[in-house]
Amino acid sequence: MLAAHQLRWGIDQWVAFLKDKTIPVLPETPGRLAALQEHLDGNVAPRDVTAIVLQDPYLALKLLLRVEGHRSKTLGQETTTALGAVLQAGIDGLLRTAADAPPADATRAGLNDCVARAVTAARIARAWASQRSDISSEEVALAALLAESGELLLWHFAPELPQKAMDELRSGRALRTLQAQQQTVGFSFKQLSLTLVDAWALPVLIAQLIRGADTPRANIARLAGDTARHVITHPENPAIPADVVYVGRLIPGASLEALIAPLPISAEFKQRVLLAVARQGAHEDVK
């Protein structure tokens, strides 16, 4: 339970509070890693565990902080992919990181929704970005996974705050997400994420992709986040066809089937989305 004075904190105080906290992992993550080791008889390859890292934004963040904290700032490249973080940490380092971490409270529906949005966004971002040969799909995926780090940490360490923001929306006292967050805590959770990324001195690219400048990588990461939010809100959200139209402009060489394939929606709705966007006029550029 938050103390009364914490309810009056501004963004700088929350960043100071959160940036050195011990980040949890999802309760199922240690089991997934153990099962993987058992299945592969201990011969676990980095790519195998990377798939598990991309299912747990808390673990991804912990790992990135660990490897970036150990990297020499004058030598060594920044780590901007989940696989890169796994390689830097080593399998044993990753397993220790996960084993030593406290579990996140999976009984909180809001935390689970936030995790689902992050994981879904990363999956969609990776699939979409892989359709372009000029960008790293792994970088876009990691940025999409970490874009809601601020809100993820609040759900674990100060759940009252994102819960209050959600209550503002569902009570009709706020009609927009940013408005709800401003009314509740005085800052946006996205700004909290970006300020934390700066405080942790995470790779500049990650911050750029989360901030959302007009680059193909950042736009794909942002659209993947929006689409994940739409799908989590409702699996047949009427916004989804427009999401496909928007991302089609960023990846002009991709087939509509390839853009729709990674969306976690039913096969029947995928077919309806495909029919809805397949007409030439939907994919044309406007004049």
Partner: protein, 173 residues
């Protein structure tokens, strides 16, 4: 031609499932590009649409509060989704489900908005018509300077009744 000089008819044009109206505006809402489907449904020539304010197709049945929400969302960098009734040049109307995104430059500054509008589900139109009728009644019952607040209040109460956010309600209609 501004929408207020057009007499609305009770004649609906229904968008096909596979049609999309795609357009862009500058940050002030002036249309900067349109596609053929927009030209078709609006009834305006391309030259009439370009550089016109997007409210050229605003239908008088639409509550002012919905457009307030749209513009405040976009100006704060958020996307907007909603059901909108539009007025054609010939007085006919057409419903759309609109999804609007801010567009940014390399510095992350908003440089305009892009909209994709498509055919809404018929059952959603019935539900949203009822809500919009109540919102507009509230807006017209007060002084113009208080109208938007009155419309937003009705919308807020509808959300509270359902314990849904605006985005959740729109997605479920």
């Amino acid at each position: 031609m501004k929408s207020r000089t057009i007499v609305p008819l009770d004649v609906e044009r229904t968008m096909r499932e596979d049609e999309y109206i795609v357009s862009t505006t500058d940050p002030q809402g002036r249309i900067t590009s349109v596609n053929d489907v927009f030209v078709d449904y609006s009834g305006y020539a391309r030259e009439e649409l370009l550089h016109a304010q997007h409210n050229i197709v605003r239908h008088p049945d639409m509550p002012r509060a919905v457009f307030w929400l749209l513009w405040h969302s976009l100006q704060n960098g958020e996307d907007f989704m909603g059901y909108v009734k539009n007025l054609g040049k010939d007085g006919t109307y057409y419903w759309v489900f609109a999804h609007v995104l801010p567009e940014r430059n390399a510095n992350g500054e908003i440089v305009g908005y892009r909209s994709v509008r498509r055919a809404p589900k018929r059952e959603a139109i019935a539900k949203v018509t009822s809500l919009y009728t109540r919102m507009q009644a509230a807006e017209q019952a007060v002084a113009p300077k208080d109208a938007i607040a009155a419309g937003l209040r009705v919308l807020g109460e509808a959300l509270a009744e359902q314990n849904l956010s605006y985005e959740e309600m729109v997605a479920r209609l």
